[in-house]
Each structure stands twice: as structure tokens, then as C-alpha cells.
């Protein structure tokens, strides 16, 4: 089948996920201990002889290890950041060895709520411990050790992924030469936590959630996940973009005076919600939104973000998008400010884009030119 697939020249092509197993117990920030764990990852390009060209791609809320290329058995399932990663693309796999991971607590093969709890022989479900950005970074660091990567040429992430890049720069300063933090924030605002809480409540109050042990009941809290994703989608886009994409257009031209799907935007949201509810784990969604809520490096430094970044030695690139109101440009400016106070090398671009928070996944020419210029100046 794979032979029939036309692979673009700038694609990394057919890739296979890999699994790293760690049998040493991992103590999480909460104090809980995972007896061992597995991380799924993919790699693109080749590690050079001096091991100086490795780039870590940190996933956002619903991201995972399949960031580029296609799988032989699913040729339509292109990686989530395929427009960025590949030969000749801004993150050029002819120069860099790129690694993308599925984090702890994920639902794409890494140890998470769907995995078997060795103590019970049943899926962890809601008993899977709450994981933080710092825990993810600790697990990623063990993967780096395993792969012989002492120092990343760069770590890049958007949104929640950007938080992982920041956390690396603070907790493992000698292991990161460049941190690329896209559409992110130094901590969530109350409004942002509130959106996460509504999403979680949608899931938790779904009768099919069964307190997080829905696997045992052979069901899924589809309605809750669907609502959570619909809400997310609204906040990841801008008012302008939704007006442009859907406006007030009706699907069938006239009002039916019903509560069926009449407006195009309703149809879009339901489609996105259904698609997500069928492919994502509800417990993972709870864990990932909580990791977002908890991220606050300044909290451990007396509320002073500049003090939090004091250990960092990396060079930084910050990028924000003009219509991103969930991770607004002003939030990236807070990070820039804290880095300048520490005298760090930092560049910052605020990209004009109509696509809101989702812009970081798109291939806006200015955005990609910024990333390309930055990556091109990284020595390997």
C-alpha cells in the first residue's frame, strides 16, 4: 500500500513510532510515584556525530508524537506539525535530528490513564496521577538520556508545548541551547483556567464518565468530550476568523425554528467535537488541562518571573499572534520582559494573523520565515 502513496519532496516520508520503556520509578511533583512508564516518540532526520543537532518538539494540549510525515498504515494521517518539519522546511531535517514525544498521561501509546495499573491489573482511568509540565519535562529528560542527547540544539513548542520549552530552560539549563516558545504564557489567567474548568465539568458530569472508570463500563463520555472540544475550538479561534469562515450563514438557506443544526458554525463545531470525542481520551483531557492550570514557574520564585528564569542560559525566541486572545501577545511580552531582565538573548515576533490561537499550527509566511531565520542561525 505504501508504494502507492505520493510523498512530497519536503516530507519526512513514512515514519514509525518508537517506544522507550523506563523501569525506574518516577516521583511526580504531586509526590505520587509511577513505578515505571513508557514514552512513545518519533524521530526525523539523523543525529550527527557530535550529537549537537537534536531538536525536541513538545506537544500542545491534544498533540502527540506523530508530528511529521505519515504512517505506512495510515497515509492520510499526516503529522500535526508537518508544515514545519521536513527536508527544506523551517525545521529542516537535513540539518536537525528532530524528536517528538507523546507525554506521560497521554492517550497515544505513552503511559497514561488507558494503560494498565500494575497494582490492580486494570486501566488506571481516573486513578492515574495528576502530571505537571515539570513531570513531562523530567520524563523527556530521561528519554534524552536514553538517546544520548546531553544538550538539545533547540526545544520548540506552541501553547502548552511552549511551557515545556520554558520549563526545560529553567530546570535543565545546561541541556538547552535554544528555546522557541510559541503562542504561550508564563501562567494561565483566571479566565483561561475558567475555560479549562468548564471543559472538565462537561466531561466529569457526563453520566458515561463513571468517575473516570468508563473503560470498565465499555463506554465513553462522548458528550462531555465533545462539549469540551467545542468550547476549546471557540477559544482557539478569533471572532474575525469565525465571522469570515461561517458568518451567520445557514446550512439550508432558511430558518427552521428549531434547535437542530441550522447555522454553519454549529455544524462545524459539532463535527470537530464528534471527531475529537471519538479519538481522544477524556482522562487525558482532564490531566492536560490541569497541567496547563498548574504551570506557573514564578510561583516557585516568590511570584517573580524574572527570578524564575534566573537559572536559564538558553537563547530564546518568542512568537505570538495578533488575534490570539487565549494566549495573547501581552503574555509573550511578559516572558520577553523576564528574559531581558536576566540579560538573556531573546527575539520576539508578533505575527499579524486572523486565525487566533490556532495560528501556531498554520504556515503563515511571516511566521514560518521567522522560525526559519531563527533555526538557520543555530549552529550544529
Amino acid at each position: 500500500m505504501a508504494n502507492d502513496i505520493a510523498i512530497p519532496e519536503d516530507s519526512v516520508g513514512i515514519v514509525s513510532p518508537l517506544c522507550a520503556r523506563f523501569d525506574t520509578p518516577l516521583t511526580l511533583k504531586s509526590g505520587a510515584v509511577l513505578p515505571g512508564f513508557e514514552l512513545m516518540y518519533e524521530t526525523y532526520g539523523a543525529l550527527n556525530a557530535t550529537r549537537s543537532n537534536a531538536v525536541l518538539v513538545c506537544p500542545a494540549l491534544s498533540g502527540h508524537h506523530h508530528a511529521a510525515g505519515i504512517h505506512a498504515d495510515a497515509p492520510k494521517n499526516t503529522g500535526w506539525w508537518d508544515n514545519l518539519i521536513g527536508p527544506g522546511k523551517p525545521l529542516d531535517t537535513r540539518r536537525f535530528f528532530v524528536i517528538a514525544v507523546n507525554n506521560l498521561g497521554g492517550c497515544h501509546g505513552s503511559t497514561g490513564p488507558m494503560s494498565i495499573n500494575p497494582d490492580t491489573g486494570k486501566p488506571w482511568g481516573a486513578d492515574f496521577p495528576v502530571v505537571t509540565v515539570e513531570d513531562w519535562v523530567a520524563a523527556q529528560a530521561l528519554l534524552a538520556d536514553r538517546l544520548g542527547i546531553d544538550c538539545w540544539a533547540a526545544i520548540i513548542g506552541g501553547s502548552l508545548g511552549g511551557m515545556q520549552a520554558m520549563s526545560w530552560s529553567i530546570h535543565h539549563p545546561s541541556r538547552v541551547r535554544n528555546a522557541l516558545v510559541i503562542a504561550s504564557a508564563p501562567k494561565l489567567t483566571a479566565q483561561n483556567i475558567a475555560f479549562n474548568e468548564v471543559a472538565r465539568q462537561a466531561i466529569i458530569t457526563d453520566p458515561d464518565f463513571h468517575g473516570g472508570h468508563f473503560y470498565e463500563h465499555n463506554t465513553l463520555p462522548r458528550r462531555g468530550l465533545r462539549l469540551a472540544r467545542m468550547l476549546g475550538h471557540i477559544t482557539y479561534q478569533s471572532d474575525d476568523l469565525m465571522a469570515e469562515k461561517f458568518g451567520r450563514r445557514l446550512r439550508e438557506g432558511g430558518r427552521k425554528f428549531s434547535f437542530e443544526v441550522e447555522f454553519e458554525v454549529e455544524s462545524y463545531l459539532r463535527y470537530q467535537g464528534d471527531k475529537f470525542a471519538g479519538s481522544f481520551d477524556a482522562n487525558t483531557y482532564l490531566l492536560a488541562t490541569r497541567a496547563l492550570d498548574y504551570f506557573d514557574p514564578a510561583h516557585d520564585a516568590g511570584g517573580d518571573l524574572a527570578a524564575a528564569f534566573a537559572p536559564a542560559t538558553a537563547d530564546f525566541l518568542l512568537v505570538s499572534f495578533s488575534t490570539d486572545w487565549r494566549f495573547a501577545p501581552s503574555r509573550s511580552r511578559e516572558i520577553v520582559d523576564a528574559l531581558m531582565r536576566n540579560g538573556r538573548n531573546v527575539s520576539y515576533a508578533e505575527i499579524e494573523s486572523s486565525a487566533g490561537h490556532d495560528s501556531f499550527l498554520l504556515d503563515d509566511p511571516h511566521y514560518h520565515a521567522v522560525l526559519r531565520a531563527y533555526f538557520d542561525n543555530i549552529t550544529v
Binding site: M340, G343, S347, A373, N377
Partner: protein, 200 residues
């Protein structure tokens, strides 16, 4: 930037930068000046630029570039956090002149300002002949110029006086890039200043 910008202006500014100085370059364009200061004086710091294409050019040049709108001020830069704040051939493109000059000396111990002299004799001739001046230093038509403030050496010095800004050094250049001693406001087409706070 005009054909006359380049090494002469840059070398003058470089001479005002102490080795290893921390520099903020406002309106840094493609970053050529900041790169020159890094290479010739071991300076470190940041360029500020509003135009995304120039931000990208600055990154290609290997400098730190921050895409910030100077019209909104330097509000998130810490007091006295730079040795030198430079605005090279860009002050005339910004509206809030007084605010910016004051802010530059809040953020930096010293400031460098360079600008084209509107009262240069060739510009006066153009006005006498009934037209807005177009020259190597003012290379735009009135309808496409990025400049929004039109001022002279005499005007600038009067504003410094008003704001309590001390002029520590001044260099005025003619069209050929040669220093002008006599009648600078008439014979000079470009001026560079090293400024400090009045009591600095």
C-alpha cells in the same frame, strides 16, 4: 536608510559605545548597526523594530530583535537597564517625540539620536522653489514618506533644552559624509548626538 548611511554613521556611533556595552537600538531596521556594534565593540543588546520583514532580516543578521511598536512607548523596559539607547535615523518616523526621548534616557544611561536635517541648504532651496525636498537624506516624495516629524538641528536642540536633556557630543555631516564645522544647520544634512540626562 539612504546610500549615505553605513560605515560613517556607524563608526561615529561605534566610537560612542564603550566596549561590552549593553545597547538598545530603536528602529533597528535589518540590524546592521547593532551587528556592527557587536562585532566592533563587543556590545550586547536588542534591536526594536515594528516591521515584520525587517524583524526577519534582523534575525537573519543574528541580532536579538523585538517586534514592538515604539509609539506605545518603552513601558516594559526597566529604568537604567541599558548603557546606551540608540535611535538611528528613525526619530523622524515616530509621532511621540518628546515621550520617546524622555523614555530613552529613563531606560538608558545615555542616548544616541541621529536624524536628517530638514534645514539643510538644498532642502531650503527646494522649498524656495515651491517643492518639498527630496534628497539622499530625505529620499521620499511627500506622499510616500515614512517621516511624520520634520525638524532641524536648531529645533532638536531647542527640544533637548526644554526637556532638560544634555547634549554631550554632536557631529554634523554633509552630503558627502564629511564633518561640518560652520553653519551646521545650513550646511549639514545629517546630525548625530550623544545625549545624557541633565544631571547625568
Amino acid at each position: 536608510m539612504t546610500a549615505l548611511d553605513g560605515r560613517i554613521d556607524y563608526d561615529v556611533i561605534a566610537g560612542w559605545v564603550s566596549p561590552g556595552a549593553r545597547v538598545l537600538d530603536l528602529g533597528c531596521g535589518d540590524g546592521a548597526l547593532l551587528r556592527h556594534l557587536q562585532e566592533s565593540r563587543g556590545a550586547t543588546g536588542y534591536g526594536v523594530e515594528i516591521d515584520i520583514d525587517r524583524v526577519i532580516a534582523g534575525m537573519k543578521n543574528g541580532i536579538n530583535v523585538l517586534q514592538i511598536d515604539l509609539e506605545k512607548g518603552l513601558y516594559d523596559f526597566v529604568d537604567q537597564s541599558f548603557d546606551l539607547v540608540i535611535i538611528s535615523n528613525a526619530l523622524q518616523t515616530l509621532h511621540r517625540t518628546e515621550k520617546l526621548l524622555t523614555e530613552m534616557l529613563r531606560v538608558g544611561r545615555e542616548a544616541v539620536v541621529s536624524f536628517p536635517n530638514f534645514a539643510y541648504w538644498k532642502h531650503r532651496v527646494a522649498i524656495m522653489e515651491g517643492h518639498m525636498p527630496v534628497s539622499d537624506r530625505l529620499p521620499y516624495q511627500w506622499y510616500d514618506t515614512p517621516n511624520v516629524r520634520f525638524f532641524t538641528i536648531a529645533d532638536f536642540e531647542a527640544l533637548c533644552e526644554k526637556l532638560g536633556i544634555a547634549i554631550r557630543e554632536r557631529l554634523v555631516l554633509d552630503d558627502a559624509g564629511q564633518p561640518v564645522q560652520d553653519e551646521p544647520n545650513f550646511l549639514g544634512s545629517f546630525a548625530l548626538y550623544r545625549l545624557g540626562g541633565a544631571r547625568g
